[in-house]
């Protein structure tokens, strides 16, 4: 499409069962009761001048430009604050109104630079539009009076500037920060003529303030006062393409606003059903990595990993890879090969990789990075509810009365949904946070958790058992729900178990570290507070009892009747953009698409008929098992699309040993990532801006990804996989990813009704989409559980074998920060590193003092697996005995210290519990020094500047 601004109806949509009919400029208009006159005029195709109003903010009534005349009503009311009434007659264009509006505009323009032709917002400026709309021709007051034209521009933020000379103090930015983002970083400082927008306190600029750079203020600004630097540098966009963000599992949709082949800006799409027009600093601004100079655009090969890379043609690289894989299969058998599906790539690309492994390599050795994040969600929710996914859509939170957040930090990890959750909390919903750290959600502006249960890492199951104990023993079960919807015998077995004294909050207090009265209070609130919704993240799954914790959460939801309607449910917050989709596509070694076990003959027959090959009926190897087999000499070749397992998987030394033992590692990625140090073939990847396909977000929402520019490497990732398949002798002939989706739909019952035409028409679809649910399924288990009766599972607390002791007395837990994403391959190559240039170790003041550590000091972080160094920050966000860090920077290699322990059911690593010791340090560890040199060697490219001189 060409470029035009997104429609703005002035004030928010109102939902009402009552319709009201009025007349605007002689036209009859019918709208829901409660709608404003401004919105009614807009939806009927009219337009009332406005400046302080925009439809994602509550009406404000400040600018006095939207005045109207209404029969029988005195004066000239503001249309943005006047609700419609039955039979109302409104006049939006009269001589009197024109005069008033011109007067208002004269005042604005008398204190505004007249530099429209050189302004970055020229022809894309609401102030300019409204001056034209009211017919402003001159300014009677002149331009010589007191003004703000000497104000300094705040250019501190790396992505946008604040030019106060252009500001009309309409407060849209302040209200966007308050209402949409919920950070309340901005304010109007001063009074009357002296009023000005301020970030934080007077000494702050945007960068030093609490601003989280979500971009809501920039989007809201009607002038160029707040403007993306990229627009200033590149110019006004010429066209816009709606696509889906490639960061977290919220799945925000954006308009990629383009000038030629260049992205000018990414603006949240107001019609996006996941984000509802909001964004975070990553999706909104941190897309520069896609054009970063580090991108490798030519295929490369090398005989062995101690040699420099050699650039080559696609034909040679694919031929080299194919011949090595064929040789491995011939010598060691098909099961010496495997592949890893990326949760960052599209559904179609993931489907092709697992198809290549199963149909081309002839093995089920395929896995995906959900192995290290949400595999316990798949197991736990399938066991209890019957489906491997969350139960709700994001809109559901609007009806929640009690929100329980466990092991998740949505304001950092899933910020756009975090903002929606915070909005509901500001409206009065109650909040329970179960987390070892005092996350921002526990206490932030206008939000205070009713209960924060700061549990000892590794004791999730014990805390959930204690909550269940209170609910069962105090008679707070929703018995009607349980009797109707769940297996009653299994419930009784579970209730008898959790009701035992050994599961009481008091008995478990020494284990969990959580005062019993807090657990009792939280349990009573959750069971009796109305609609109870549970949101969880990797703080639940990445434990030795990750699957048990997911099932304990499901037990709690069923016992309190909180499944099957809006406002309730069990909601896994997915880490990567397409974790849900990658799992749906059959990327696990034991399942074909739609979570159907490979041992099921009927399912295999479907695939065998479509693909013309035999499918192995036995499960394949998981990622950690592939690495184990490699060190044993049994696993020799691995195709890795869009994952960096060396940095993201636990026990880095073991991963390195496994990769180093293979004969052929193919890395297909944007960058020479850490895993590529051990690769023999590098196939350049394409960014999300360069491909067509779909992502599926945490609410099971399948959304289009659209190519906005040609792939810099020449091929979309699905095309590269297809070429690799052809090199191996497979006759694949897809010409567009829509054909791959059609194949997915033919083979996958939950996707039966999905196709590109519907996605284009409807914007998104939430699976299951099939004859039983032709329009998709925003909320699941409404009439009954997918599995039939809901299953209560006894989840006994089994302590992790990772124990503290004299050598390693502290517990390390890991997590994310807002500005960085996962291993940082994308965000470290953007200006986001301004906010988080390195991983830091959070340590409690008591533990720090005992070790003589101050904020900023280098410290040695050592575990039974390894050691690294990083700088410390002393904070009481963590409890005594607990330390915390992020894993965004390869220089830190936080996973050098994490252990081999994993979830009992899925082998999801236990990232969240590692016994460690912290001591002062004065430099990098031996591993870090060795690794830095090894990386330098491994990234040499023959004949390029990266090849060191001999």
């Amino acid at each position: 499409m060409g470029y035009e601004r997104q429609a703005d109806f002035g004030t928010p949509e109102v939902r009402s069962d009552t319709q009201v009919t009025l007349e605007i400029d002689g036209r009859a208009v019918t709208v829901p009761a409660g709608t404003t006159v401004m919105r009614a005029a807009a939806v009927s195709g009219g337009s009332i001048p406005k400046l302080c109003a925009t439809d994602n903010l509550k009406q404000f009534g400040s600018c006095r430009l939207c005045l109207v005349e209404i029969d029988g009503m005195r004066g000239t009311p503001a249309s943005c604050t006047t609700p419609v009434t039955e039979g109302m007659k409104v006049h939006t264009q009269t001589e009197k109104l024109a005069k008033l509006r011109r007067g208002v505009m004269e005042l604005y323009i008398s204190d505004h630079p007249l530099d429209c032709l050189t302004c970055s917002a020229n022809n894309d400026c609401e102030l300019q539009d409204q001056a034209a709309a009211v017919g402003l021709r001159d300014v009677r007051f002149g331009y010589e009076g007191a003004n703000h034209l000497e104000a300094q521009t705040d250019a501190s933020n790396p992505y946008f500037d604040f030019d106060a000379t252009k500001c009309i103090v309409c407060s849209r930015c302040v209200r966007a920060c308050d209402e949409v983002q919920g950070t309340l970083a901005l304010t109007v400082e001063g009074r009357g003529f002296g009023s000005q927008i301020s970030a934080g306190v007077k000494s702050d600029d945007f960068l030093s303030s609490e601003c989280v750079s979500c971009g809501a203020c920039v989007q809201a600004c009607p002038t160029s006062a707040l403007m993306e630097k990229a627009v200033t540098e590149i110019g006004k966009p010429e066209r816009a393409v709606v696509t889906t963000c490639a960061y977290c599992g919220v799945g925000c949709t954006f308009r990629a606003e383009m000038r030629g082949e260049q992205v000018v800006r990414m603006v949240p799409w107001k019609d996006g059903k996941a984000n509802r027009g909001h964004s975070c600093v990553k999706g909104r601004f941190a897309w520069g990595y896609a054009q970063h100079q580090d991108r490798v655009l030519k295929p490369m090969v090398r005989e062995s990993i101690d040699q420099p890379w050699r650039e080559t043609s696609w034909e040679e690289a694919l031929g080299f890879a194919a011949s090595r894989f064929k040789a491995i299969a011939a010598q060691h058998g098909n099961n010496a090969l495997g592949g890893i599906v990326s949760s960052r790539c599209t559904n179609e690309e993931g489907f092709l990789v697992q198809k290549l492994v199963r149909a081309g390599f002839g093995t089920n050795n395929v896995d995906t990075c959900a192995r290290v994040c949400h595999s316990p969600t798949g197991y736990g929710l399938k066991t209890t509810f019957g489906t491997s996914a969350g139960t709700q859509d994001f809109d559901s939170v609007e009806d929640s009365d009690v929100i329980l957040v466990i092991g998740a930090n949505p304001t950092d990890g899933h910020p756009v949904f975090g903002s929606r959750m915070k909005r509901r909390l500001r409206q009065g919903a109650k909040l329970i946070v179960i987390d070892p750290r005092r996350t921002d959600l526990v206490r932030s502006p206008h939000i205070q958790a009713d209960y924060h249960l700061p549990l000892r890492p590794g004791t999730n199951v014990a805390v959930l058992s204690a909550l269940a104990h209170v609910i069962v023993t105090e008679g707070l079960i929703d018995e009607a729900f349980v009797r109707e919807r769940c297996d009653w015998d299994e419930f009784q077995h579970w209730a008898e178990f959790v009701g035992q004294e050994r599961n009481s909050p008091e008995f478990l207090e020494p284990v969990t570290g959580v005062p019993a009265d807090l657990i009792r209070g939280a349990a009573r609130l959750f069971a009796t507070g109305g609609n109870g919704a549970i949101y969880y993240g990797l703080g639940v799954t990445e434990h030795s009892q990750g699957s048990s914790t997911v099932m304990a959460i499901a037990n709690l939801a069923m016992a309190t009747g909180n499944v099957g309607r809006r406002g309730v449910g069990v909601n896994p917050l997915r880490g990567q953009n397409n974790v849900q989709g990658a799992c749906d596509m059959g990327s696990f070694p034991h399942e074909l698409s739609g979570y159907r076990h490979v041992s099921d003959a009927a399912t295999r027959a479907l695939f065998e008929a479509e693909w013309g090959v035999r499918i192995d009926p036995e499960p394949g190897l998981r990622i950690p098992n592939m690495l184990d087999a490699a060190t044993d000499g049994l696993f020799k070749g691995l195709y890795i699309q869009g994952e960096d397992i060396l940095q993201s998987d636990p026990d880095t030394k073991h991963v390195a040993a496994g990769l180093a033992a293979m004969d052929c590692v193919i890395v297909h990625d944007l960058f020479l990532n850490e895993t590529a140090n051990y690769a023999h073939v590098f196939l350049p990847g394409s960014s999300f801006l360069e491909k067509d396909g779909t992502f599926t977000n945490a609410e099971r929402r399948i959304q289009p990804v659209r190519k906005v520019m040609e792939p810099l490497n020449g091929y979309q990732d699905w095309e590269v996989t297809q070429e690799l398949a052809r090199a191996l002798g497979l006759d694949w002939n897809y010409t567009h990813p829509s054909q791959i989706m059609d194949e997915i739909a033919r083979l996958t019952p939950s996707f039966a009704g999905v196709n590109y035409a519907r996605l284009d028409a409807e914007g998104s679809l939430q699976w299951p989409v099939n004859d039983a649910a032709p329009d998709g399924s925003p909320i699941m288990h409404i009439e009954g559980f997918v599995r039939g009766k809901g299953k209560f599972v006894v989840t006994d607390y089994v302590p992790t074998d990772e124990r503290t002791g004299p050598r390693f007395p502290l517990l390390l837990t890991t997590g994310r920060i807002l500005s960085q994403y996962n291993v940082g391959a994308q965000t470290r190559r953007t200006e986001n590193s301004v906010w988080h240039p390195e991983d830091l170790l959070e340590i409690h003041p008591t533990d720090a003092e005992n070790r003589g550590i101050k904020s900023g000091d280098w410290v040695r972080l050592a575990s039974r697996s390894g050691e690294t160094t990083l700088r410390a920050t002393v904070t009481d966000r963590v409890a005594p005995g607990v330390v915390y860090t992020t894993f965004h920077h390869p220089a830190t290699q936080a996973n050098v210290v994490t252990t081999d322990y994993s979830d009992w059911a899925t082998n999801c690593p236990e990232y969240k519990v590692t016994a460690v010791q912290i001591t002062p340090s004065n430099g990098p560890s031996e591993w870090q020094q060795d690794y830095a040199e090894q990386t330098r060697q491994a990234r040499r490219i023959a004949g390029s500047a990266m090849e060191p001189a001999e």
């Binding site: 499960p619 998981r622 049994l634 019952p749 989409v769 997918v786 599995r787 006894v794 006994d796 081999d900």
Partner: protein
């Protein structure tokens, strides 16, 4: 073989047994779980290890479950998560 992998497989089996001990039929539950999620190569490796090294350090339930599998006795599915016939799950 380093022996580390075999030790890890035994550890995994023990861990599964500890977490499924409250199932109505723990041995069948453990055998079912391992059958559903472990590759044949992993099974062969652990069978060979137990045959060679004896059964010290293995949980009795895990040992019984592996013995059933080694004898070719696959139990019926114990949960919907391991039931191959249950793929109405995500079909809606």
């Amino acid at each position: 073989m380093s022996g580390q992998t075999e030790a890890k497989l035994v550890y995994m089996a023990n861990q599964i047994a500890r977490n499924l001990k409250h199932e109505p039929h723990p041995v069948a539950a453990v055998a079912d779980h391992i059958r559903a999620f472990w590759s044949p190569a992993m099974l062969r490796q652990v069978f060979a290890h137990l045959a060679m090294q004896g059964e010290d350090g293995i949980d009795p339930v895990a040992r019984a479950a592996l013995a059933e599998l080694a004898a070719g006795h696959a139990p019926p599915p114990q949960t919907k998560a391991t039931d191959p016939a249950h793929h109405g799950a995500d079909a809606g």
